[in-house]
Symmetry: C2
Subunit: 144 residues, 2 copies
DNA sequence: AGATAATCATTGTATGTACAAACAAAATAT
DNA sequence: ATATTTTGTTTGTACATACAATGATTATCT
């Protein structure tokens, strides 16, 4: 009657976190489609517009990606003329272009849309709660 | 004094889920290093050993990846002689090899090691709780 | 039975992301 | 002042994963 035990999947934080990551990424890409960007690029632009001249190092930290990944993100946004680099010694400062600034409202609208979509399914309380717990968990696990 | 508002990151389930996914994936790959496999491949083998002759379709569902991804996973494990395919009409059944069966204990040990690592940081209760919530969330979000 | 639709798997291609190595600039030590 | 170390960035390469298109088999309808 009862098949083999497969609880090792749903009990494993690696598996469950990655599963949710794939699911919500699809939802997020959908919500961000009107911007012509994927969500991470949208958030990068928001950071740059919020702090013009922010360094790549800071951007990588805030977005929790490696410096090499961040280099590639900025490459792409520079190609699209949404941000500009200014080399300052060994660091690179990133500024928004006018075009980039002009996108911020569209990006914010997509963020709201995304949030509405998942809050509708999960409930606002629960969605907030789980986000907080995810932040806490990665924070704890990242300290070595 | 207080810089620009960046709460849009920590409040966004897309961002927080992906951040945890990256963090725990690194931990998991580390714990699985002794197996010579990444965790997803390890779990695939456990499923195949638990249900010899399971179809690729079922494997994709249980692992929550697309069929094309699963094809690539099985390709790799077949190359390593850990599983075998048997074509059965339009479906493909997957069987463990002796070598694959022989790995299962090593894989289980790596799973335990992974769990110990994150439970040590997060606490057993909390880790269980958040896994359950992640399963619930992706389940809800996947129903369209 | 033959035509059409549905299902399962595969392949081509693309993207996000990481690691390790290389490079360039700055800081520190001698 | 030069040599060494540290820090920030970039590049080459690799992998997990997805989507869209294609192929192959089975099921359904007439």
């Amino acid at each position: 009657m009862s098949g083999p035990d497969e609880s090792f999947l749903t009990n494993c934080l690696f598996f469950t976190a990655n599963r949710l990551s794939r699911t919500i990424t699809k939802l997020a890409e959908d919500a961000f489609a009107p911007t012509g960007l994927t969500p991470m690029y949208g958030y990068l632009i928001r950071l740059v517009v919020g702090t013009p001249g922010i360094s790549q190092k800071e951007l990588a930290e805030k977005l929790a990606v490696t410096p090499s990944t961040l280099t590639r993100f900025v490459d792409k946004l520079e190609l699209k003329k949404l941000v500009e680099r200014k080399v300052q010694g060994k660091t690179v400062l990133v500024y928004p272009t006018a075009k980039g600034e002009g996108m911020v409202e569209t990006i914010k609208a997509a963020s709201r849309d995304l949030r509405n979509r998942y809050e509708e399914v999960l409930g606002k309380e629960f969605a907030d709660e789980i986000s907080r717990q995810l932040v806490f968990s990665s924070g704890q696990l990242e300290k070595q």
